[in-house]
Symmetry: C2
Subunit: 376 residues, 2 copies
């Protein structure tokens, strides 16, 4: 078991919880009759990717070219790169397509389409695109009824590119205050791609792909008719932000940071550990939720949650563990050398600080250490 021997801080993934989370999402989407195109920006690992793809068509979603290259190198070649393409990346995309990768890109404006058409000509490649549509007003995407959507699709097609369909991401679901609001946002997400695809189809495009996804909306969607695939990633591990939204329970979280007690602030009743923001990340995603989890919720080394014990503050390599309400902890319960686990606010951010996972509850057929791809 790595819990007593791993150099701290270490990133742990609990296989039992991971499998339960994967099974739960697969069952939900089976019931709604929509396949999953898992977003692998959360796990960035091939063994976990293969677990999420069991019973699914096999397409994946990524957020960096480095992820695309890593997963393609492991045989996952149907890849949606789901960040609006930077023109400077099109040459690297072409090289990846030369190696057999079935790469789909996204864009949300005619300027990028012009660059893509130009690059398609210069590089003699047929780039395939989903047009991004805005479903939450938070970030990117064509406004659904903007005539620029169809005009951009025409420009792409006439320029030798393929318009495979439309996609949206209701990241605004992370700010919902209750599950009913998330269910409504899931319906908005669905309606947005259905309307955008209808506009394209009316203009003569086939647009077979209608892609949506976020873990909260995938969890609480009641109807996904007209949706061809769901992208979600955080559900694999779950995290405290998801628990705050009601997407999961803290007990479901498969990811944690192993740390060791290095000292005390006796006067304050606080405990110093060797996991700071470099390990936990600076993410404070629960700060505006009903329960502020600081930089993470503290568990025993075995993974049992210590209610209301959180990482109150961090420096680069120090964490300060405290009671959420400010009452002093009994520091005798946290002797120097004791190991603890910290559940993360945001799985993507915390996992992003590490180059590998140590697996707990791994069974016989899982390596003890799983790599993560990094960089861009």
């Amino acid at each position: 078991m790595p819990i007593q021997t791993a150099a701290t801080p270490a990133l742990l993934v609990d296989r039992t919880k991971l499998e339960a989370n994967i099974r739960s999402m697969a069952e939900r989407l089976d019931a709604l009759k929509v396949p999953l195109r898992p977003h692998l920006k959360t796990c960035k690992n091939i063994e976990i990717a293969r677990m999420t793809l069991a019973g699914q068509p096999g397409g994946i979603t990524v957020s960096t070219m480095a992820e695309a290259a890593y997963f393609a190198g492991h045989g996952l070649e149907d890849i949606l790169y789901a960040v609006g393409i930077a023109p400077g990346k099109l040459e690297a995309c072409a090289r990846m397509m030369d190696q057999g990768v079935e790469l789909t890109l996204i864009l949300d404006n005619p300027d990028t389409a012009r660059s893509a058409v130009e690059a398609a000509g210069a590089l003699d490649r047929n780039f395939s695109f989903l047009l991004e549509v805005d479903s939450d007003g938070q970030r990117a995407g064509f406004v659904p009824d903007d005539p620029a959507l169809v005009e951009t699709a025409r420009m792409l097609e006439q320029g030798g590119c393929t318009v495979a369909g439309v996609m949206t991401h209701a990241g605004g679901s992370y700010a919902c205050r209750n599950t009913e609001a998330i269910a409504q946002m899931a319906e908005t997400e669905r309606a947005t791609v259905v309307a955008a695809a209808a506009a394209l189809r009316e203009a003569g495009f086939e647009a077979p792909v209608t892609s949506i996804g976020s873990t909260p909306t995938a969890t609480f969607a009641r109807n996904l008719s007209g949706v061809s695939e769901v992208r979600a990633g955080v559900y694999l591990f779950q995290d405290l932000v998801m628990a705050g939204l009601g997407v999961c329970q803290p007990e479901d979280i498969a990811l944690s940071v192993l740390t060791e007690v290095i000292g005390h602030r006796r006067a304050q009743g606080e405990v110093l550990v060797d996991a700071g923001w470099m390990a936990l990340s600076r993410d404070r995603g629960t700060a505006n939720q009903d329960t502020d989890q600081g930089y993470g919720l503290v568990c025993t080394a075995a993974g049992e949650i210590l209610e209301d014990t959180i990482v109150r503050a961090t420096n680069q390599e120090h964490g300060i563990v405290a009671n959420r309400d400010g009452e002093p902890l009994d520091v005798r319960e946290f002797p120097v050398g004791r190991r603890l686990r910290i559940l993360p606010n945001h799985a993507c951010a915390t996992a992003g600080q590490f180059s590998h996972y140590q697996v707990v509850n791994r069974g016989r057929d899982m390596p003890e250490v799983l790599e993560r791809c990094g960089g861009w």
Copy 2:
């Protein structure tokens, strides 16, 4: 030049600015007659480490065992590991000492000292310690006049360990509101180690080392008599938090993240770029300063600051560039494909998101790419 060709996002370091920052700190400490033991947690790179060590005794400070191993592997063997030692790391420390590393550890409580004595016996090693003293009430350290300081020193010595002296870190200087307050904190930092060393010397310890340091206090200290070394790291690159404190000007910042425009939010007058929190980090260290820089201050690709243009919000791989005051930007000035640089809030946090630097203004004797060591 990597500016137009590097895959984005990329971490850039400007050699000209780096050299000026290093020179400036060296001159300041020369005038105060105290040598530097640079904190290499900021750069995590050997070429930059060697630049900081020019004219200095050669000792370094690190914040992880991985940094210690990396720098020792490059011949820097006088290493202070400046995070309260976790007992679980003592075996790895012993292995490192076996390879010739002159390793100094820190601790701030008798419990850790007991573990160290036990490990020193079991592993048959003489561990060398600085006792950490608290100078700002923010994190760790013995209270200066706590009798436990001397008692712990005795326990260590009787247990076959060495007490090399005392150290403190006035991290509270980051929260100062003006340079006079920082100068006062520098004096507190100095007085704290001088008093603690005096207590040890009175008890018969030689305690030659009195180590202090943070970039703000090192910059504004007026008198460092009785101090044997200064640890500082951020000064190498500087950052927006330091600029907000008056430690530097934004123009001095040697570190930036290169990014590319991928779209617009026309209705809001905002610009989407391909650097999100994965590249910029989640650090919001300027949020409580007079000038909130969002997730970073925007510059042209050549490095010229675009006044009041900041990264307002981030997602994992998206940044939203906006005017600080909320007035719409003229998005025509930010065409898709344009490259920009983002100055970081906190150099340690932003650099920590990358595995290497690309060097600008590098001259002939500097490689184009510099590695960074990562992990723990």
